[in-house]
Symmetry: C2
Subunit: 630 residues, 2 copies
């Protein structure tokens, strides 16, 4: 099979404009009841069928009178009116009786006996009367064309007596997941298979944007079958999305199939993630080839599919809310492409801080964890830490303000806490946490670093890096040791066994407390790190290390017992260590911090970590100040 | 029937907090597929069923190799590898074959004949390999509880092998429209009847907020029937809304019925519009009595129903986007209540200008036309013109930026233009337009004011009020005259007939060109305005005047022929006048203004106004500068 080794790198805007200019949608109108038209787009000017109100109506609860009969009423000479002769009771909304021209509020009426009332001031003609058409006049426009219908519009349409209105049909978007390895039921998720997740994500995006998704079952990588499916999809839909198969693999047929059916306008755009996107036109309809990595898929759909649907519905581009934030870390980027970086956000001392997440195109969890997207334009070298940038929110700002930010070492207890307390954690290792706290970029810095001088964990950090305004909250004690495959097939019993031939190690990233512990242990035993296979291979969490061991890509890792237990692996204990939290004193009075402290000091928390195994909560929640350290 | 003449005036926040504190929702969880869970709320922590990927996968298209066999590859001494022996072709996503530990990108491989390839640098172990769990690790949390599910979350849930997830059931909201005058089909919209519009508006609001609306057919004002319906609604729903019947009319049963069934916490809140709101609890469930006027209904539901649904779904209060704008007019308000004012927005010279709309609680069109809501807190006397205020958007800001703002005289042609050009008009009369243009609060000021000295319309305004930077765009000539009931039953043939006994006139508001014309005509004939019945009764548009004549609340009005024709009324011509547009010169180069000019100069426009009758477009679109006037 011939393959395209290289794809283009066309500018995003240029590619999009060319794409849009080649398409002339055939929009259709349908008639629906207003109450079935929420969020739909009006297909024409809609004028009122009836005036509202369609009669002169009492605007207040009270009595209807003929105004000229009331002109002599005075405070010192009240006028007495007789029911049925001089007045009639009316409630708000009642038609004004024919013979009357004015309404007096019930609060201004003194009710006497025998159907008589007394008034002390005259009524102006037409006072407290809602005239015909006060709200809507028959024949006048209620909604103009190309308007997105809101709840209040539905109310006005009905008030105007409209039972059916013209709206644009939703654009139909055919979505074709491709790939022999793709399954749509988790029961079929055997080794080497991948769940079809993108097509369902696209369907939800299309629904949000006002389209109607029509999803196909996954199609295997077979030129003929794929070609038939695409043909069918183009026939039945206004827009077609083919997911995966757009890159340079030997089974990446998408571009050549579409090229045979219509015109490929561009293959490869200057966008990261999302580069191997295909923009094509088949029978006048837009066909999009979107790459398979989940983040690429999301970004490519946002960039090219959303404008198509907006164009179909004649809606202006609607930007998500943007906001300014300060970057906690530098993000270098290539001049070659526009890059979209996922960031978490947090309010620290009133400043909104943005922290970049994993930049891997394959990490769908980075989209889940992201609070916002940061766009680095093409021809930019990226942004510096401390720089103010504009980010696009993926979550309401109100919610973000509720979250406590944690940057630092990773432990499974952080997930456990996050299930009960609004906590957003980023894992950078202990030293990353220390730096972030010093810079005012986090509320909490989880740390576990051994002081080699005295064998005590973390307390020395207060002295070494912080002033009196910082405090250490005792977290948990946890067991560190070697994580090994079940049954320990390669007979690894201690650190020195890492030197053995055929043993592949997996390490934690630079700055992680576990890595500092390893280096300490190696030094103690006089072992050079360069003699350990895999020392350079880094994972950022205990669970990631345990997973590497579980899946056979590593034979051993240093990590916490809980990770070994969750993964059903063997564990050889080496030491107990303190996993603690550094915070600024002033943060202790923050309501969010109080919830955090309340929870970690609770019996519920202690029960939960005992359940995990390898932990104890002896002093959890105790505050250690700089002066306390001897 | 006993009635409550006076209702309470309880502070909004106080009433709401008391209401929320009395309710303890019984939330239920249901299981749904992720793809059926968009915008739903997770009912529990959701952890991964499978790791993703669940195997070590090629991260690039290329070849899989064993890294240690490649260490000797150099640029000046390439290494030749044999397929099946030394390498295997892999595509992105393929499982890494068991005997290999690394992937070389296809771009870095030179393909030779006979299944051989050449490489020029060694492969690092595990390079371009996506390890098991790179995205999601089995057992780790994918989503925490109380999270609103987005498209990207659906993708991640499926990647984690989750086919079913726990989500909160939607809160069921029973909605009961009440009132004997209420009909739900426009076929039944006879004299004295009103369309049920609020209940459908509420249903749409509930849907938007994440609840499930269950709407009842309108119930008549009958104590027993209403009582039975409310009982049923409370049984079947989590929240009940009763619309109308909450005020002080003789048929306003809502408060007493709810009081008999449960506890009325407050009846009457310090909110305008929306004061006669009832907050009650029946069988532990919240029951809301919401007033019937459409704007009151909307504001009351936003204020009290939305927080209930957010509370049920454990979601933080989500504020709509807010933005700062400058007020074009003063808005006095009472200290007694929080007032919500509807405003239109427009960008004039880069500044966002807010103009208040009708403050009538009965004008649902003010909600349709509003771009934003302005809240005037309790104990405030209102805001001054020119003051910067914060408003809550009802329409995306991007859309607002596309609109040309018009403030001034009203004519039906403005609706006709608005159907083709993005135009937002407010009707203040000609002089209101002149003032707004001088203050930089509008792009266009439509005017028709007669210069009594020379009988020429509008041109003198340039001299009298503006500098050289203002220009008059010729609009249309239109016929003004007397608007009369069909057949002219009271034999009105001229201005002097307004003095006849039993003739009720309806006037235009102060500052309207038509009123200035009337005053001119009265002066000419030596008639005193105080002798005309109805001179003080004001309407703000020609159509509103014509409607008053049509409905019999007035016998005659002065207005344009087109309004008489649309309403099928008689018309006696008095004069032709010029309806023109004042704009700043610099606005002429604005793209939105260009569309406006292009349209009014088009044949299509001329055809449309000829269709209306009473117009001609002789010089439409001609520009008149100050210097041009002789």
């Amino acid at each position: 099979m011939k393959r395209d080794k290289y794809i283009d790198n066309i500018d995003v805007e240029e590619a999009l404009q060319k794409f849009l200019s080649k398409i002339d949608f055939k929009r259709e109108i349908e008639k629906k009841a207003p109450w079935d038209s929420l969020d739909r787009i009006t297909g024409d000017l809609i004028s009122a069928n009836f005036s509202s109100p369609n009669y002169n109506a009492a605007a207040m609860d009270g009595i209807a009178v003929l105004s000229k009969k009331t002109i002599n009423a005075r405070e010192n000479s009240p006028l007495i009116l007789k029911e049925k002769t001089d007045f009639l009771y009316v409630n708000t909304g009642n038609p004004l009786p024919k013979e009357y021209d004015s309404v007096i509020m019930i609060e201004d009426v003194v009710e006497l006996d025998k159907g008589e009332v007394e008034i002390i001031s005259p009524a102006r003609p037409w006072q407290h009367v809602r005239p015909v058409g006060e709200d809507i006049i028959k024949g006048e426009p209620v909604l103009f064309a190309n308007h997105k219908i809101r709840p209040q519009d539905i109310g006005a349409l009905l008030s105007a007596g409209l039972m059916e209105i013209p709206i644009y049909k939703k654009p139909k978007v055919g979505i074709i997941p491709t790939g022999t390895e793709i399954v749509e039921d988790s029961k079929e998720l055997s080794y080497g298979k991948i769940m079809d997740s993108n097509s369902r994500m696209f369907a939800a995006m299309v629904e949000k944007w006002g389209g109607e998704a029509s999803r196909f079952s996954p199609t295997e990588d077979n030129y003929h079958k794929l070609s038939e499916t695409i043909k069918k999809a183009v026939q039945e839909n206004d827009i077609v999305v083919i997911n995966a198969g757009s890159s340079t693999g030997t089974k990446d047929f998408t571009a050549s199939i579409i090229g045979d059916m219509g015109e490929v306008l561009s293959h490869g755009v200057a966008l990261k993630p999302g580069k191997p996107t295909i923009l094509a036109v088949v029978q006048g309809k837009p066909v999009l080839g979107i790459p398979g990595y989940p983040v690429s898929a999301f970004i490519s759909a946002e960039t090219f599919l959303k404008p198509l649907i907006e164009n179909y519905l004649l809606q202006k581009k609607q930007n998500r809310s943007k906001i300014k934030a300060v970057l906690s870390r530098s993000i270098p980027s290539s001049l070659k492409h526009r890059e979209i970086v996922r960031v978490t956000l947090g309010f620290i001392d009133g400043k909104l801080i943005a922290t970049p997440l994993s930049r891997g195109a394959g990490v769908s969890m980075s989209l889940v964890k992201a609070d916002a997207l940061l766009e680095i334009p093409r021809n930019y070298e990226g942004y510096q830490k401390g720089e103010e940038v504009e980010v696009t929110l993926l979550r309401p700002l109100e919610e973000i303000g509720e979250y406590l930010i944690s940057i630092g070492s990773h432990d499974i207890v952080m997930d456990l806490i996050a299930d009960e307390v609004n906590l957003s954690s980023t894992h950078t290792g202990s030293m990353g946490g220390v730096t972030a706290l010093k810079r005012g970029q986090t509320h909490i810095a989880p740390v576990h670093i051994l002081n080699e001088q005295n064998g005590v964990y973390n307390e020395f950090l207060l002295d070494k890096y912080f002033d009196d305004e910082t405090v250490l909250i005792r977290g948990v004690e946890r067991e560190q040791g070697l994580i090994l495959p079940k049954g320990n097939p390669k007979n690894i019993f201690g650190i020195s066994d890492l030197l053995k031939e055929n043993i592949i190690f997996i390490n934690r990233q630079r700055g992680a407390g576990t890595r500092i512990l390893l280096d300490y242990l190696l030094k103690k035993d006089g072992i050079s790190s360069s003699d350990i296979t895999g020392y350079e291979r880094e994972a950022t969490t205990h669970m990631a290390c345990a997973t590497a061991v579980k899946s056979g890509s590593a034979d051993v890792a240093l990590g916490i017992k809980a990770a070994a237990q969750v993964m059903d692996l063997d564990f050889i204990p080496i030491t107990f260590e303190n996993y603690d939290f550094l915070v600024k004193k002033e943060t202790l009075s923050d309501e969010r911090m109080k919830s955090f402290l309340n929870f970690i000091r609770s019996q519920r928390f202690e029960d939960k970590i005992k359940n995990l195994g390898g932990y104890n909560a002896r002093e959890t929640g105790k505050l250690i100040f700089k002066g306390d350290i001897s």
